[in-house]
Symmetry: C3
Subunit: 140 residues, 3 copies
């Protein structure tokens, strides 16, 4: 009987305090959505840098699809500007994810992207699921 009660109490305390801790999102998490490199990429990179400068342990995922994937390509017209920013942010833990549906539709290959880029089967599915895991959303 005592054992049952103790187990119950322990389990209750675990739930009571673990659940709120999860809900409080002790660590900031955010997904940046880029679907137009021309309009958004440089602003987004600067936003992310400012966010990390303010709260260094923020989890940041940048998801790019459609025209948004361009700034992660090796031959991007502003690669000289954005390349070092991307590398610096990647070194600080930022993930850059390219939509594979976009790649298929635009006939792009993985080796056309910078080494800091990762890939995700569908950009919009990834953006949806990150939010449902507790990530905030920012459209730069």
């Amino acid at each position: 009987m005592k054992t049952l009660l103790r187990g119950l109490l322990a389990a209750f305390l675990f739930t009571a305090f673990a659940a709120p801790a999860t809900q409080a999102f002790a660590r900031d998490k955010v997904v940046y959505h880029i679907n137009d490199a021309e309009q958004q990429a440089l602003a987004a990179l600067r936003n992310v840098r400012n966010q990390l400068d303010t709260v260094p342990d923020t989890d940041v995922v940048v998801v790019a699809h459609a025209k948004g994937v361009d700034f992660l390509m090796e031959n991007y017209k502003d690669a000289a500007t954005v390349g070092p920013l991307i590398s610096a942010l990647h070194a600080r833990g930022v993930k850059f994810e390219v939509c594979e549906i976009t790649m298929k539709q635009r006939n792009l290959k993985k080796d056309q992207f910078v080494l800091d880029a990762d890939f995700t089967p569908s950009g919009v599915v990834e953006i949806t699921r990150l939010q449902q895991k507790g990530y905030a959303y920012i459209k730069p």
Copy 2:
């Protein structure tokens, strides 16, 4: 005493395992926000199609207000292009909701909209409440 304990245990187990299940959002849910048909509508429809092709049982609600409602009107200039896309997505369960405040301000009537369109009293209220019910947000 034993009855109380059993009830307590049952209730605890229900809470402990039911709550996380709800929080995990077993099914993807997402609201697409359209406030400029010209800039966003076609991209949004393609995004939604890609999302459903990847994860067919996703709950998708497209909320349109301001200049965003135009693509759901029967006389939309690109109706020949977007109409079939809208119908196909509607047949797959996607909801299209038009803001009634916009309709009032622009003096539009329900019969000017395609049959696949639904209506919501306020687009921004709907977008807010869907997110608070666990829907992710995507601005195409």
Copy 3:
């Protein structure tokens, strides 16, 4: 023993019913993200007004950064139009928050902003944290 059980039961009931209540977000909460005053400010102010007209007790925070802070400056070119809207919304409880990183980068001082403006150390951090506290996100 009985005391322990009663305490446990009380604590359990509190958790079981308090947590869902919090998750239901009894009150609508929403953060509006403005990073381009020219494109978004007037639309955003009208959206917020419509939202409050529909659901008066909504918590609304408008976070402005980058080019988005301009409409909150005293010398904004459309101050005659947006000023009264800002004041009216502020009187109804809407918070307007200006990003201090933007101010530093653009060398702006607090006394250049309207009296209804508040300030936040980082706009993107604020937008992230409001969402993680349960605020919905709207990009006008």
